[in-house]
Homo-oligomer: 324 residues x 2
């Protein structure tokens, strides 16, 4: 601290005010202190290091819906892995709004965040060009491909085949899907995977049995109601995630429909709620903890110098409970 003070021609107390923000200082003083820190390559602690590099020790996790416990668990997993390296994880919620997604990436550049982990919802891959240009490591967690950035993505074909095999074995034939929204780059890969595998198992997804909406409980309720209004209702409904499946259960209970007797239901993710609802929700487990661990590892590799993008697949599993 006293070296910096000498180099900047100010008192140690002044350096401390600049670093801590405890007292207002003039712009000139602030700049001469920062300049002295730059010259001395100050390495004493993370704050000084981040002042020197212009980078904070904060890692931004940007997610579409913090009310979905999948993302809270993802945040904790990343935090557990990065804490040992001195990083703080801050979580931002975009509400699946493209404008918010773009604004938060800009803010991450402006704040000189150390790195960004993001589940984009309405962004295309080129949205990451600015942040990559700023030299900030990025890891994307998504079902759809993203070129030019590190990607954590599910390997879930086998889980979908297992779930559909179980649907077929239970004597059901007509499958409905509560899918994600239509206005998303790359569409809904979870819907695509179901469509890829149904025919081989003797099942059918009729066009009127595919409904689209956000990944929320409310959208799941609305989608399920729409499916029930179709001319012949499906015998099993596969949902884009557990939250939408819980919304479907709300409607089933309201209408006195028995699950799985009247209609089978499958979620995706296996958040805690899946085993708390009654009947317990059958689902495709995609571990937020494992996704977070992989994302953290990729991010540290980048911080340590790797520049070539990598894709890592995290395998998903069919979990049979009572709803299907």
């Amino acid at each position: 601290m006293s070296d910096v003070a000498r180099a900047a021609g100010v008192s140690s107390a002044t350096v401390s005010y600049v670093l801590s923000g405890k007292r207002p200082v003039t712009a000139e003083t602030r700049e001469s202190v920062h300049s002295a820190i730059d010259r001395l390559g100050f390495r004493l602690n993370p704050v000084a290091r981040s002042l020197r590099t212009g980078r904070s020790m904060m890692v931004a996790l940007v997610v579409p819906d913090l009310a979905n416990p999948f993302y809270a668990l993802l945040a904790r997993s990343i935090q557990d892995k990065l804490r040992g390296r001195g990083y703080h994880v801050v979580v931002s919620n975009t509400g699946a709004q493209r404008g918010e997604e773009e604004a938060l990436l800009q803010e991450a550049v402006h704040q000189r965040f150390a790195a960004v982990v993001m589940t984009p919802f309405r962004l295309a891959a080129d949205a990451f060009e600015m942040i990559r240009g700023a030299g900030i490591p990025v890891v994307v967690s998504a079902d759809t491909p993203f070129d030019g950035v590190d990607l954590v993505t599910p390997s879930s074909d086998q889980a979908v085949v297992d779930a559909l095999t179980h649907v077929a074995a239970s004597g059901r034939r007509s499958v409905g899907v509560i899918a994600g929204p239509l206005d998303v780059p790359g569409g809904d890969p979870r819907l695509d995977r179901i469509k890829t595998h149904v025919a081989a198992l003797g099942l059918q997804v009729r066009d009127e049995h595919v409904v689209h909406g956000e990944h929320t409980r409310e959208a799941g309720a609305a989608g399920f109601e729409k499916l029930l209004r179709s001319s012949r209702r499906p015998e099993a409904v596969l949902c884009v995630n557990d939250m939408t499946a819980v919304g479907a259960m709300d409607v089933a209970e309201e209408l006195g429909l028995e699950i799985p007797g009247d209609i089978g239901l499958l979620g995706h993710d296996d958040i805690d709620i899946a085993s708390l609802v009654r009947p317990r929700l059958s689902t495709i487990r995609y571990s937020a903890r494992e996704v977070g661990a992989v994302a953290s590892a990729l991010l540290l590799e980048q911080i340590d110098g790797r520049t070539q993008p990598r894709t890592v697949r995290v395998s998903a599993q069919f979990v049979r409970r009572a709803s299907l």
Copy 2:
């Protein structure tokens, strides 16, 4: 932008690189641009404003447990209220660890956050002196009193009386409490409120029927097991929050205990999970959405110039469902 470039003696492109972080620039260039921005009192947009003031447009929400949906909802509520003023909300999880709570407050000062909303868990009021000294507005959401900062706190005596009245009316007399940890400044005010009101309603809380632990599902399960091992088990158990009550339900189900037949159960908060579990959880509703709205209003008052600390009470209500 061109005014800044002229004043700093650099090109507009360079100013843009400094503002966006798109290209690396030397420390001297960065400083001359920032200095020009300071001199010109640049007000065109939030980024420029934050450069001028040294403050970011980020508001930190610091919470003990992001896996508790109460805090995810609190985050969304604050975000909804502050978005219109150009602020971004970032959420940090302390895991109820005092070291993390302190580190995140320091980081908020270092990053020049615009404001901090925090639910402290193991911090005392003096922990906020540094951040207040840095001129950063703070709002605390807590059950315990915190001097010198804005406070949002529940008004829940009536709700507790209503819940206990219902316990008494259902013929139960012996009440157990799954309370918060013992090593917390201010203790557990939810336990204190129960103890204040039991006697007047003809109820009894025996010493062996008070157990302490974290505010998590796991701690709730452990606490409930401990209560069941007491010489005479309580007829109703009141939990510090809904997550601990869900942990108690896990154990009850495992052991084949009927709720509410064998033992009544009450939560606190009324998160979504309370109405998803079976039997539906009776609870004391404390609206995260309302707490967030009040905290945001207090914060904006401070940003707009109020300096005298205020305390606002948000009323809680007993919600009778099936578990009690």
